[in-house]
Structure formats: structure tokens, C-alpha cells
Symmetry: C2
């Protein structure tokens, strides 16, 4: 099974634009579209095959059997999906947004779920737009590829069209140097709520509480405060887009955290009680994270690595096992 083929990137911001750069650098046939004329002109000037004509771009994608990558923000997705349904009715589709359940339900609303596989490259910089794009952005980064089209039970039939597109999306991410981690959309959203969106909400709350302490508080703040509030420096619109597009999972994570904080508060208010429970559990959790990810940034990850051979007996069980342990996967060619 050949997982390569042309790629059509819709939206050439930091993620979409950097992907286009990497694909072309690797010799893949890739072309793109962007709404803004300035971006189209800049990308053409940099030597890329880019257009501002959405209909023409999608018709070309259909003709060339390109994999369509939705590189636009969530609010722009409904318009894009309608255009894809109309002008590229048989292309495979993936996306690069940070929430997966919301996108999946938009895709279902447009009747496109049989040829959609979600993606979330966990890479980025503080900058955005074509000017911020670069080669190598995804090297070593996790790229979640969704598995909602894979049957839960191994004796169910895997849809051949879905499997072909799923393999192409995995191939795309591996080809730009990313570590592909498979996950159901709901599992992805639950996980990123806990490790990313919750991190943002806590950083904002910590920054506000410290600021309310007045000039002395900020004057005494040291590296622990600096690190813990770093992401509160993120542009507010980006933080809101992440959190407000993943409300249900973030509410669940927040409820757990609020409950832990209320317990700590009650224990601190009682002179004869202590917070050993929370502190010991938090320390143990951090050590588990360090065991997986390394003690300091840049150390090799101990994330499990599993090779799959789609279509071979038992491969679905292996895929679900990989999901359950958060493993990185690679595809063995049949």
C-alpha cells in the first residue's frame, strides 16, 4: 500500500505554512491556498505553488487525489468543509487544530466523516502567520492522529477508504519528523484538557492572584512563579480559542483540580491537619512524568514505540494497545 501522494494545504499560517515548506523540501508534491492575498504573494515569492482561488485549488486536489490538510482556525472550518464537500468530493481530509471532538462533529455535520482523520501537531512558536513559518517545526514533536474510524472490536471490518486515508495522514506526519501518537478524539481532548488547557487556566489564575497581592508580591516573585505563569503571556485570543473549544473536557479537569485545592484549603485551615496527601501525590506524579519525558527539557523520551502493519491480523488490537499506553507508532509496509 502506497501512503504517499500529493498534499493540498488550506490555510498557510504557522502550522499549515511550515507543513508546506517541509513537504516541498522532502520532495512531496504539495500545493496550498490562503485567503489573504499578502500571504499568497509572499508564499509565491518564496517559490511555493500557492493560490488565492479556493474553488480552483479544491478542484485540483480532487483531480490529483490530494490529501487535504485543513490549516485554518476552528471558526473557519464550516466554510472550508462546505467547499471541500462541493468541490473535492472524494479527497481524504485531515486537520491540524488543537481540539478534536469539536472538529469531528463539524465534519459529521458536513457528511464527511468517512474520509476524515483528525490530526494535532503539538508544535508551535509564539509567532504566527506565513512570516513565522519554518522548515523543521515538527521534528520530534508529537502529532496526534485520531482513530475514531477504527472499530473498537477486532472482528469488525475496517472501512478500506478510511484506512487508506488514515495511513496517508500517519505517513504525512512521520514524513515531517513528528512522533505520531494515535488517540480517539474524546481521549485526545480529555488529555489535552488536563496537560495543556488546565495549565493555561491555572497560570492565568495564579498570575491574577499574585498581582492582587500588590507590588511587594510581584517584586518577590522568583523563578518558580516565572515558570508557572509563562503561558499566561500567550495571546488571550489563542488561550480562549483552545479552552472554549474544549469546554466539556476542561470542566471535568477543572472540577478535579478545584476539589484537590478545596481539600488542601480545608487541611491548611485546620491546625492539626497537613497537606501530605496532595504533596506526596503531586511529587509522585511529577516523577512519573519525568520518567517518561526526561528530567529536563531535551532529554530523550521514554515514550513506548510500536510498529503496526495495518491489515495484518491483530493490528487493530495493537493500535488500541498503543492508544492505551500513549505510544508512538510507525507503519510497517505490507
Amino acid at each position: 500500500m502506497d501512503h504517499s501522494g500529493p498534499v493540498c494545504v488550506l490555510g498557510l499560517g504557522l502550522i499549515g505554512g511550515s507543513l508546506l515548506r517541509d513537504l516541498v523540501a522532502a520532495g512531496t508534491s504539495a500545493f496550498g491556498w490562503n485567503r489573504s492575498t499578502a500571504t499568497v504573494d509572499a508564499a509565491i515569492a518564496d517559490g511555493f505553488d500557492v493560490s488565492g482561488d479556493l474553488v480552483a485549488t479544491l478542484r485540483r486536489a480532487e483531480k490529483e487525489d490530494a490529501l487535504i490538510v485543513l490549516g485554518v482556525p476552528v471558526p473557519a472550518l464550516p466554510t472550508m468543509l462546505s467547499a471541500v464537500a462541493e468541490h473535492a468530493p472524494s479527497c481524504g481530509i485531515t486537520d491540524v487544530t488543537s481540539v478534536k471532538g469539536e472538529v469531528l462533529s463539524l465534519v459529521e455535520d458536513h457528511g464527511l466523516s468517512d474520509r476524515f482523520v483528525g490530526g494535532h501537531p503539538m508544535a508551535g512558536t509564539a509567532d504566527s502567520g506565513w512570516d513565522a513559518t519554518m522548515e523543521g517545526l515538527f521534528r520530534g514533536a508529537v502529532w496526534v492522529v485520531t482513530t475514531d474510524g477504527a472499530p473498537e472490536l477486532p472482528d469488525e471490518t475496517v472501512d478500506a477508504t478510511w484506512l487508506r486515508i488514515w495511513c496517508r495522514v500517519v505517513h504525512l506526519a512521520v514524513g515531517v519528523g513528528a512522533a505520531v501518537v494515535p488517540a480517539r478524539s474524546a481521549a485526545h481532548d480529555g488529555a489535552v484538557a488536563r496537560i495543556s488547557h488546565l495549565t493555561h487556566v491555572l497560570a492565568e489564575s495564579l498570575a491574577v492572584t499574585a498581582d492582587r497581592g500588590g507590588a511587594l508580591s510581584l517584586s518577590l516573585a522568583a523563578s518558580s512563579f516565572r515558570d508557572a505563569t509563562r503561558v499566561a503571556g500567550t495571546e488571550p485570543g489563542l488561550v480562549r480559542a483552545m479552552c472554549e473549544n474544549n469546554r466539556d473536557a476542561l470542566v471535568t479537569a477543572l472540577d478535579e483540580t478545584i476539589s484537590l485545592l478545596q481539600q488542601a484549603r480545608a487541611d491548611l485551615a485546620a491546625p492539626d491537619r497537613d497537606i501530605a496527601g496532595l504533596v506526596d501525590a503531586g511529587h509522585a506524579a511529577r516523577l512519573r512524568y519525568e520518567a517518561l519525558a526526561g528530567r529536563v527539557a531535551g532529554e530523550p523520551s521514554a515514550r513506548p514505540y510500536i510498529r503496526l502493519q495495518p491489515g495484518v491480523s491483530g493490528w487493530l488490537e495493537q493500535l488500541h494497545y498503543a492508544e492505551s499506553v500513549g505510544a508512538q507508532i510507525a507503519l510497517l509496509e505490507v
Copy 2:
């Protein structure tokens, strides 16, 4: 007014031991005591004037009019204060622990508050004990010096003994390269609850909540999670000692944070509401912090710097002004 003089350091762990090293390196007459024979032997082998005999050390401090630095942990303070009261009845006293209200009330219990000025050097490493001590640990670090002995109203008389000791403590901290920030004990404890102890409790709670999300959560965690949970890697006993010795102020800070999180939770649970209020406020607070402390670690701080001339008309108002803006101070000689 001469603010120099011998210094007697009781407890030669990371802070006390590093202080002894800096003092001796600067040519100050300094000697120390430690409970553990191993530490005493190691310090003597390194060329320092150190003893394991507490009574003899305190009698020498009394004879030489040394400033006594309490370098022991909070639980050991009552024993130390009793010994100081008995064997060094006229020496000035300071400390280096991270909570100030709890220490002040122990000092009052021992009838020593008229010659006590609290201190909190905000420096440290992950290691502890004499082996971890080093020259230069305090260079550029904030060293809070308490001001509880200074009258609130400028027309009240400043106690001359207290002022003499206060100046010696400021001189000590400035002499090892620290940035002295003056604060009332209660204001200090409120501030560190917000910027340090709350940071620890949130990091522990975030680590636990992420860990409960299972292997996928930890596998997807990136640099924002790494930075936000870094201090959850701190030895649990140290975290508990900080937080449990500053219960009241930490409860106040926690109540404010829990309230912010509950509001965010309610806004996320209502499809027509957003979290712009929290996100905008958190972003603004982080920018205020960066304006003060620099955008990245190591940039110069914009902390205000105020020179005081103790005893000169208006100096008390200037001191209280410095407290209100979290300023660094230096003493001008009269």
C-alpha cells in the same frame, strides 16, 4: 553609625553555610555552630571557625557583640531561641527562614522581639547541607528584611537598639550581594503565599490531575506542562514545611484562586459564556510581572531602588514607601 561587626551563624546548611563562606571571603569576622559533628568537621577542614558547642558559641557571640543568624529550620527555632536568651542576652538576632510571622511569634514567646529583625534570603538550589554550600549564592537574590520594629507613624520614636540591629541586618545582606527588600512580616507572608506557596500547591494539583488522565495525558504533555509542574519535583518535606508554616496567608490566596477557577468553570459550562475576564486579567498580570522582572530569566529587573538615611527626618516615611512599592533599599551612612 557603623553597621559592621562579627557575625555568628547557627546552623550551617545551604543558607547558613553559604552565608558563612561569603562573610569570611569578604573579610568579616564570622564564626558558626552546627549540631552535626560531621558538618563541624567538614567546615573546619574547609578552614572555617566552627564549633559543635552551642553554649560556648553563644557566650563568644555575647562577648564579641556578634549578630546572631538563626540558620536552622523552623522546628529547631524554639530550642535555639531559649539558648540565645540564656547565653547571649544582648546580641542582635536575625533568621533566614521562608516564613516571617510564625518566627516573629516564636521570638515574642521568648521575649526577644526588641532585638530581632527577620530575614528571608530568596535563594537556594535543589541541594542542601554543608556539601551544597557555595560562595555567591545570594548575589542578585532578593533578601527580605522585616520592619515590624519600625513605627507606623513617623512621629513615634524608633527604638535605638532595634534600629542598630536592623541596620546591621541590612548591611549583612547587602554585603553578600543581595537586593534588600523591606517588608512587615505579615506583608511578606501574604506575598510569598501568593507567588511561592500557591505556586507549589497549584503545581502539585496540576500534576495529580494530569496523572489521573492516564498514560496518554503524560505522553502528550509538552513544555507548558513541564514548566508549570517543575516545582512539584521539590522534596515533599520542604513543600510541606513552607506551606504548613504559612497557613493563614496561603488559605487567603487559595480562596481567591479557587474562586477564579470556579468562575471559569461556570463560564465554560455555559455554552453562551466565555472566559475572557480571567484570560485578559491573567495576561495583563503576567505583562506587569514581565515589565518588572524582565521577559525572560536573567534580564535586568526594573524593581525600584531607594536610598535611605536612617535617623534623618522623613526616613521612616521613605521606608514605608519602599515597602509599599516592593523597592530594593540601600543605606546611606549618616
